[in-house]
């Protein structure tokens, strides 16, 4: 018997019981639709995360001050000021795997322009900072070494800050007051977007490091920096660079034996690994949801196919009497089951993709529907049909023609 005919018979059987076929498919439809939708939202999420991680810059190591114990009081990590601009210079000079390094200080405060004011993060940094973070200038010029050396009172605005203080006007050349001190705006940075932690990276204002050390942060020594940001020469050298920094700083800070270091390093590949791990956990979860819903759907299919075999016992008898072989009957019922699940799979894919698009519109959240997820869903729905359709089909094929013909 040719396959086209088998397909035609199966389609007719499904059409005879339209409502029942649809309800049977529903399990598969819901299962596949939710998998497709969740996969789309999930891969959209990991796309966003990877974009955000990339926005920090590549091959980056952060050095932050560790906790110190002074008079029995331990400050939290980052609370101490143990790093200096000299550490930065030493790292640049003595760590061969390091490409660039910049000290940074961080503060926050009010920035005023005319009658506008805006509270924002104020960062002090060197020209290297912008190279490390791969952060270009949209308008005006960047911070130069001369600005840093001379502690010149100039500033660079993040896009959010520029928007809030100047609206659509050009900020370059204007004077803003930061903590009541006048600064000349020399440029506006390119838009960066959200950080992996969800903060707006453009809501920042940058000033030369020494300017910040002298005027904006209170510290014992004007040479202190809050944190170091270092770029390794390559991805492969990331861990090597981290080791070099650790040993150099241990030496410089005279950390020996059991003494707890007064700094710590973090490299962004760790953050990446965490993100990867969570996306792996996510896909594992999706897989579990998918397989459960497909199993439930498959059991529904099997149930209905068994009912269908019983209902159509006489038909099976007729077909056998007329010359259908066991395999013809087996194939007929298998085709019916696979058609059910594949049709359900197709509808589910369409619904899931549609749902993902609605989610992406409403929540302004990117969704990615990959060809891969669609083909996996399709193949899986077919496999469910084969798996759960086999038993009923074998039951049909195993019927004795005389008994089947006599069945009322």
């Amino acid at each position: 018997m040719d396959f086209l005919q088998t397909l035609k018979i199966a389609l007719r059987a499904l059409r005879t019981n339209k409502m029942r076929s649809f309800l049977t498919m529903l399990g598969i439809i819901i299962g596949i639709a939710s998998v497709i939708a969740m996969m789309a939202v999930g891969s959209g999420a990991s796309y966003v995360i990877s974009q955000q991680i990339a926005s920090i810059g590549s091959n980056i190591i952060l050095v932050i001050p560790g906790s110190t114990t002074s008079g029995g009081l331990r400050t939290g990590s980052g609370g101490a000021q143990t790093l200096t601009s000299d550490d930065v210079k030493a790292i640049m000079a003595e760590c061969p795997s390091v490409d660039l390094a910049s000290g940074t200080v961080r503060s926050s405060g009010q920035v005023v322009y005319g009658n506008m004011n805006w509270s924002t993060v104020i960062m002090g940094g060197t020209p290297e900072l912008f190279e490390i973070r791969e952060w270009g200038i949209a308008n005006g010029r960047g911070i130069t070494q001369q600005d840093v050396d001379g502690a010149v009172k100039v500033c660079l605005l993040g896009q959010t800050v520029a928007d809030n203080l100047f609206g659509s006007a050009d900020p370059v050349g204007n004077i803003v007051r930061i903590k009541k001190i006048p600064f000349t705006v020399i440029g506006v940075l390119e838009r960066k977007g959200q950080s992996p932690q969800g903060t707006d990276q453009d809501d920042t204002l940058f000033v030369p490091l020494r300017t910040a050390q002298r005027n904006l942060v209170r510290s014992q020594h004007t040479n202190n920096v809050g944190a170091l940001i270092v770029k390794a020469k390559s991805k492969e050298l990331l861990t090597k660079a981290e080791e070099e920094i650790n040993s150099l700083l241990n030496q410089r800070h005279r950390i020996t034996g059991g003494k707890e270091p007064d700094f710590s390093t973090r490299n962004l590949s760790e953050i990446l690994a965490v993100a990867e791990q969570s996306s792996k956990a996510m896909s594992l979860l999706l897989g579990a949801v998918a397989s459960i819903s497909l199993i439930v759907g498959g059991i529904g299919i099997m149930n209905i196919m068994l009912v269908s075999v019983t209902e159509r016992t006489r038909e099976i008898g007729i077909r056998m009497a007329i010359g259908a072989k066991k395999n013809d009957i087996l194939l007929q019922f298998m085709t019916e089951a696979v058609l059910l699940t594949m049709l359900g799979g197709l509808i589910g894919i369409a619904l899931g993709a549609g749902g993902a698009m609605v989610v992406s519109r409403m929540l302004e959240w990117p969704t990615l529907i990959s060809f891969q997820s669609i083909s996996i869903a399709f193949v899986f729905s077919g496999a469910v049909g084969i798996f759960f359709g086999f038993y009923p089909a074998r039951k049909a094929a195993g019927l004795n023609p005389i008994d089947a013909l006599r069945y009322e």
Binding site: Q5, I318, M320, A321, I322, G323, L405
Partner: protein, 226 residues
């Protein structure tokens, strides 16, 4: 004339639990090509059991069955399915047509399993429907046909693959007298065209259409007009 069917000492024992029942107790007869045979007998005498064996739907417990010279006993189920498809045509008391399927597709069914292409199938099916006088009813579903017409669709289906024998188990059992007369005259016509027919019936006037009557009682043949 060549023997289409040759039964030798056919026995059929049904086992139900620890009970055994011998429905056929050593039946032997043969039927030549072109014969029209009526099988008669009381209810439970083994007529249908014998027909099922003739139709290769069931196997005898012992004995030999040659169909068109082929030893059916030695065949596997797939070969038997092929035999049913190519050498036999069935007509049942209850018509046994596929519901919600146009008459012409019911007639085509044996050709589907014979592996013919759709054009050839349709041609042969239409010819068979013409032969049984159902031209114009091709697209009616069984529920849109009278009992007599349904039985004629079944006969067309039995004819369509040019079988060696048509087996009919009480083909008029569900029909009124005028439909019965129609069906029997159709059988007579077909028989005159050379088709071998074996028919089970309870009614003497129906059996009278046949050229030969075989009578069963309790699993034995007690009469054969040949």
């Amino acid at each position: 004339m060549s023997k289409v069917i040759a039964l030798t000492d056919i026995r059929r024992v049904f086992t139900m639990g620890d009970q055994q029942f011998e429905a056929l107790k050593g039946v032997s007869y043969s039927i030549s090509a072109g014969e029209f045979v009526a099988i008669m007998g009381a209810s439970g005498s083994g007529k249908s059991t014998c027909m099922n064996i003739l139709g290769c739907l069931d196997r005898p417990t012992s004995g030999q069955y040659l169909l068109d010279g082929l030893d059916v006993g030695a065949m596997n189920t797939n070969q038997l399915a092929d035999i049913r498809n190519k050498k036999l045509g069935f007509v049942f008391q209850g018509f046994n047509l596929l519901a919600r399927t146009p008459a012409v597709e019911n007639v085509e069914l044996p050709l589907v399993y014979a592996g013919l292409h759709s054009r050839e199938r349709r041609e042969k099916a239409l010819a068979a429907m013409q032969q049984v006088g159902l031209a114009g009813k091709e697209n009616n579903h069984p529920s849109q046909l009278s009992g007599g017409q349904q039985q004629r669709v079944a006969i067309a289906r039995a004819l369509v693959n040019n079988p060696a024998v048509i087996l009919a188990d009480e083909p008029t059992g569900n029909l009124d007298s005028s439909s019965t007369a129609e069906i029997m005259s159709l059988f007579t016509t077909l028989n005159k065209q050379g088709i071998t027919i074996i028919m089970v019936t309870h009614e003497h006037d129906v059996a009278a259409y046949a050229g030969r009557q075989i009578t069963f009682r309790d699993g034995n043949i007690i009469g054969d007009t040949k």
